[in-house]
């Protein structure tokens, strides 16, 4: 499985993502600097966490309009599996690849902690290896993870199985405790929690691994 990790000025979970991908898939990912938008064909694209462009304007807003994202949007629309974690999720909503928006946490504080969430749909590229309804522990680390969409959109997301993960308790004020969603086609996943931080017992657990093994098993 050939992966690319897109690196923006201010990305800071790019190395963590690369380490996780290499550890789990056995292949070093291609690190794509945002100016090198003409990157080679890959099986999977990751948009890592961080503070791209310093979160100026709105989280993810500047990156969403960058040259490299035009390329990512094109490939994602062509069906290339694409994952956005944290700031990556914010970028995906800012591009419109995923519906809704991520607002400031309801309590206005940054939050970094392990959270419990349930796997709502195991019939996606990213969640196949999880059991239906499985409760997993994955850390969050964000200031703007409060997922918002209008009720019609939320109903549609839930009805179509596009809600991939839900928190088991209120973490940041997100509507319907949504932690991660996919697009209608199912090849794009955005989520606030960081599965790449939960890949070995020394880090507190391994619940994030199955996300990467699901992908790998589908793509290989």
């Amino acid at each position: 499985m050939k992966s690319a990790v897109i690196v923006f000025p201010g990305s800071n979970c790019d190395r963590d993502m690369a380490v996780a991908l290499e550890k789990i898939t056995g292949t070093k990912p291609l690190m794509v600097w945002h100016q090198d938008y003409d990157f080679e064909t890959v099986d999977f694209i990751a948009l890592p966490g961080g503070f791209s462009y310093g979160d100026y304007l709105r989280c993810g807003a500047m990156s969403a309009r960058s040259h490299v994202m035009k390329e990512v949007i094109k490939r994602a629309n062509d069906g290339v599996p694409t994952l956005g974690i944290c700031n990556g999720f914010q970028i995906l909503t800012e591009t419109g690849l995923l519906p809704g928006a991520l607002m400031r946490n309801a309590n206005l504080h940054f939050v970094c902690k392990d959270v419990a969430m349930t796997v709502e749909n195991t019939d996606t590229l990213f969640t196949k290896d999880y059991a239906g309804g499985e409760e997993i522990i994955i850390p969050v680390a964000h200031h703007d993870g409060n997922y918002f969409a209008d009720d019609d959109t939320l109903d549609r997301l839930e009805g179509e199985g596009q809600v991939a993960f839900k928190y088991t308790s209120d973490i940041n004020g997100a509507q319907r405790q949504i932690a991660g969603i996919t697009n209608a086609r199912g090849n794009i996943l955005g989520m606030m929690p960081h599965p790449e931080r939960m890949i070995e017992p020394a880090l507190g657990g391994s619940d994030g691994r199955k996300l990467f093994t699901s992908l790998m098993n589908t793509l290989n």
Binding site: N12, F51, G54, F110, V111
Partner: protein, 735 residues
Amino acid sequence: MNDIQITPELVAEHGLTSEEYERIVKAMGREPNYTELGIYSVMWSEHCSYKSSRFHLKKLPTEAPWVIQGPGENAGVIDIGDGQAAIFKMESHNHPSYIEPYQGAATGVGGILRDVFTMGARPVANMNALRFGEPDHPKTRHLLAGVVEGIGGYGNCVGVPTVGGETNFDPSYNGNILVNAMTVGLADTDKIFYCAAAGVGNPVVYVGSKTGRDGIHGATMASAEFTEDSEEKRPTVQVGDPFTEKLLIEACLELMATDAIIAIQDMGAAGLTSSSVEMASKGGVGFELDLDKVPQREENMLPYEMMLSESQERMLMVLKPGREEMAQKIFEKWELDFAVIGHITDTGNLTLKFGGEVVGDMPINSLVEDAPEYERPYVPTPKREAVDVAPVNDLNKAVLDLVGGPNLCSRRWIWEQYDHMVMGDTIQRPGGDAAVVRVHGTDKALAISTDVTPRYCYADPVEGGRQAVAETWRNITAVGGTPLAITNCLNFGNPERKDIMGQFVGCLEGMGEACRALDYPIVSGNVSLYNETNGSGILPTPAIGGVGVMKNSDRMATIAFKDEGEAIVLIGETKNELGASLYQREILGEDAGAPPHVDLALERRNGDFVRALIENGQVTTCHDLSDGGLIAALADMAIAGGIGVNVAVDGDLPLHAALFSETQARYLIAADTEVAETIRKEAKDAGIPVEIIGATGGDRLRVNNDAVDIPMSELAKAHTDWMPKFMAKEILTTG
């Protein structure tokens, strides 16, 4: 602007005494102009020149076979084996944080990060040591909220985990909070960068953010006492941009991977002035700077402003000739300013040009070496006698009040606002004895702890100085690390007062002794004096940041009980040492008597024994005993593990002393009963006091049947709830 007449009033406004001004005139052989006066005033400020502390700092031990660089550079460097080095330093940002808590704390983090990556290290961990006034003081909540948000706002964005620290409250900090930030970085031992400039004609390069008018005279502000109108100094507080810092880290590390850099220095306090003077002075050369070339954020900036600005996220470098273009490309890639602003000369002077004219010309030597050094008079703090400290009737209430009070309650509300996991190597998160961060891609790890007990330092500075060093050593030991070296942040009141100077001298004496006895030298540090408001000083607070190494990060202990039915082993003898204890202060509302004595030989013997147990895999649950004594440590371990505990304490001590005494050099271990028995025998054979005092299990904290008997749920709730309730104004609502 250089036409401005230098008057005695202007000299005083610059924080210089008339004697110091005469010294400048003598050094220059003429009267300084306005720009030059500004430059001398910051270079000779307490903050930059250490004029009151240098004499005593020289007495501290700074050497060990593993020390690569001791004090005097941007940060200390120690060898951690396998061709790798840990680079670290702690620094204060007290005065600005009181005036503007968010930016003060944020730029404190930014500044210490730069000190570390300037030397070629990738920062891997941030720590901090915070002191606030009493919880019901009207400003405490606002300051705490702002400081925490500032530390998080900067560190989270830069992507360096904030892995731990300490936070305490005391009325003496009501008007002077302390914000001490520490950064630890990793580098290869053959890729360490220093600040000594060399090579006449070589280009002097400015990179990073543009220069604005912010922070002018920050260093001078940090060298004076506060008065009621100090808030008017808000404009002297700098504004940070962590996004630029992140780009600067990456750009500098990318350039450092080439061989283009001869010397590099961050622009911290006193900005362009101190960075250029430091680099030239260390290299024994002169600098000529063309100020028209300095990237400027505001229009019509004057030389005085450019030289004194403390705008953040800027660095100064000397490059090898011909490497400018390659270096510029790297900085352009990261969208940062890059400008050749001058060159090295052989004049030994700092020469400033602006608009084609020379606007300043000062001998570098005089800026550094002629700075005054004061051997300020002092009186040693009178020794306190040991005192009897009274028992209380309701032990349960005392335990709940301590564990669920401001000084021992959970700091989760704070550290959950810090990204403590980014970089994927945090293997011991905040809340334990020391933070543990893996050395990326290896089996090794660094253990880091910040500590000081200001109560002890106030009661007996020598003992308090010893204890601060010993406690970081013990905390690193308790997770299984081998302590290697420390950095410090010496926060004191006005050194012109004899009693304050006595505290300073006493604390340094104790620290030096402990460092020598524990083979634990000081490799970097910072002094923050004049922490006073209207003549009222803070408790002496020499914060220590210790760094240790673990060869095998799989062999690590944490404080949480792991299982029911494990035996609890107490290592070390408990004496009746309740003087200056937390129990005495918080429960009885008194502060009297001698603090606990630190026996450094015992400290070393007991610690080495405990560390070996962790290293050889016998023990994974360990906690050192400190504030609040045995009962506080038991409560921590039980709460962290979610498992109750039942112990029996006998012996000659009154029960309240056995539970709350803060005797040093003690540890609690929990282990399988057979392992515990082996440990007991081994300790006995080694002559180490040891006792199996009980076992884990159940859902209550119990001592001597029902002498203490508290449901775990109640204890955990008290521990968890205090800080969120306090911050939400649900308690102490007067504040």
